[in-house]
Amino acid sequence: MLRYLAIFMLFMMGVLEASAQRLVASSSDPQISITSTFTGEEITFFGNIEKAFDQEPNAITNNYNIVIAVRGPSSTRVARRKTNQFGVWLNGEEVAFKSFPSFFHIISNLPLEQVADQQGLAVNGLAFDSAPFLQPVGNIANAGEFSQELIRLMKEQNLYKKIEHGVTFHSDTFYSARIQLPAHVPNGNYIAITHLFQDGKLKAKKAQRFSVRTVGFERFLSSSAKDYSFLYGLVCVLLAIFTGWLSGVAFRR
């Protein structure tokens, strides 16, 4: 509890400190539409670092670093380990994590360790294993090891990714960044938080939301599967019987 309080205090200090510059940020797509031919999509984030109203005229306006954290909807995720029992490999241990983000990309213009120190990154949620995203339920003893393995599995599916040098500065203050959402990107509400660092300190941050949604026929199918599940199942069976019957008629000799 004390630890979270300390993190919270640090976080508040970060916010208070961050009033020297303003950040204007936007993205290319407020909504990613998944259609039948969806094979992933690229989304672009861009913005400008503006002077704060009360900024001194001779304030340093370089050494800016931008880090963007893009997170998808959270869910409870379980990591399981197979162990050998009686010569058979079976799922032995498991650790569940509450509100684990289903998508997490961190994009920066420099390797993260050059942007801020570890604590500065963790406080701002710029590490996959920072506290808000790893809340083990029940079995806590192995939580550390299991969380690292879970993050590794997510990285292998391109759902977790660190992209160093992914943010490009086009001038001293104007930047842009692109990330690739894979074809199996989870549906839901996303949040992209852009952090402005200067000399290892957070100066400003700005959140944007976007959503990933199925649209059109696909949306109709996935919503009817949830809302009219019996009818959906019945239609599926009738479609199957019809397909089978049709082929029987077509191939009748």
Binding site: T37, N91, E94, E149, A225, L239, A240, G244, S247
Partner: protein
């Protein structure tokens, strides 16, 4: 051409799906099995989440069984009275299977039970069929008359009470083994995500001595009915039936099934059984390896339902 599957939430090549359905449909027409025991593992291997694969394959099995059952029905190859008893008990078994499925999923041991189930049933039935088929092929090649146990010849099963006459099958047997077989297939089918034809056909032949002319048609009708009920159960319970995935597989499989059915008429019974036995054993061995060999990655992950924010 990529197709986005709305329930599985991934994109897959539509021609790959149709091709996969076609290959499995061919086998299903050839042997009178649904093919679920091949298709489900293949889909999981393609990256489709296991619950979606299991549930969508049940839909595909309905289509594959329909075209097969129809062509047997036209030839008079279905014993409707026997099928009625099998279906009634099978639906009871399916409810039991879905209930067990839920308990195992909560305990995190569903994968283990599915692997063990595949291994035990595919392994034992595959070996039995292979021995029997190879034995009769050797005798056939040696020129000896194959001593068939014809329908009407009695085993202990035929001594049980509550006997019912199945006219089309030329049988007068107790309903107890019929109900037991039907319920077991329903239970295993819904638990393992398979039609169960590969268990049902040998059970009908070796236990009840149903004649070869009606065994496949009757088994297809039972599989059709049970899988239709299971599809609806899955759709209502877990909402994991992907209709686009199921439809792509169906289109491939119904076409494949037609070719399979006509190819099957050029092969002798024991050759068919030996071929099916080899395929069944190959799948069993694959599951055995996954249980016995040190896994490349001992870690796996799943999302718990209801935790979405």
């Amino acid at each position: 051409m990529q197709l986005y599957l709305p329930i599985a939430e991934i994109s897959l090549n539509i021609f790959m799906l149709i091709g996969l359905g076609g290959a499995v449909g061919f086998l299903s027409g050839l042997f009178g099995v649904g093919g679920g025991f091949l298709l489900t593992p293949m889909l999981i291997f393609s990256g489709i989440p296991a619950p979606v694969a299991v549930a969508s394959v049940t839909g595909q099995v309905v289509a594959a069984s329909t075209s097969g059952a129809l062509s047997y029905w036209r030839r008079g190859g279905i014993d409707f009275k026997l099928a009625f008893f099998l279906i009634l008990s099978g639906i009871g078994g399916a409810f039991g299977g879905v209930w067990t499925f839920g308990i195992l999923r909560e305990a995190g041991q569903l994968d283990l039970v599915i692997s063990l189930g595949y291994l035990i049933f595919l392994g034992s039935i595959g070996s039995l069929m292979l021995f029997e088929a190879v034995g009769s092929m050797i005798k056939h090649n040696a020129g000896k008359a194959v001593p068939h146990k014809l329908p009407g010849q009695h085993s202990w099963v035929h001594g049980l009470p509550f006997r019912v006459r199945f006219k089309r099958s030329n049988l007068y047997v107790s309903v107890l083994p019929v109900i037991l077989i039907g319920a077991s297939i329903g239970f295993l089918g819904s638990l393992l995500g398979i039609g169960g034809g590969f268990i049902l056909v040998p059970a009908l032949i070796y236990i009840l001595r149903v004649p070869g002319s009606v065994v496949i048609g009757t088994s297809l009708l039972q599989v059709l009915a049970i899988m239709a009920a299971t599809t609806i159960l899955h759709a209502v319970n877990s909402q994991t039936v992907d209709i686009l995935l199921a439809f792509s597989l169906m289109v491939g499989s119904v076409i494949g099934a037609q070719f399979g059915a006509s190819a099957g008429q050029h092969l002798r019974g024991e050759q068919l059984r030996a071929l099916l036995a080899i395929i069944v054993l190959a799948v069993a061995i694959r599951f055995a390896l996954s249980l016995l060999l040190t896994p490349a990655d001992p870690f796996s992950m799943t999302i718990l339902p209801g935790g979405a924010a």
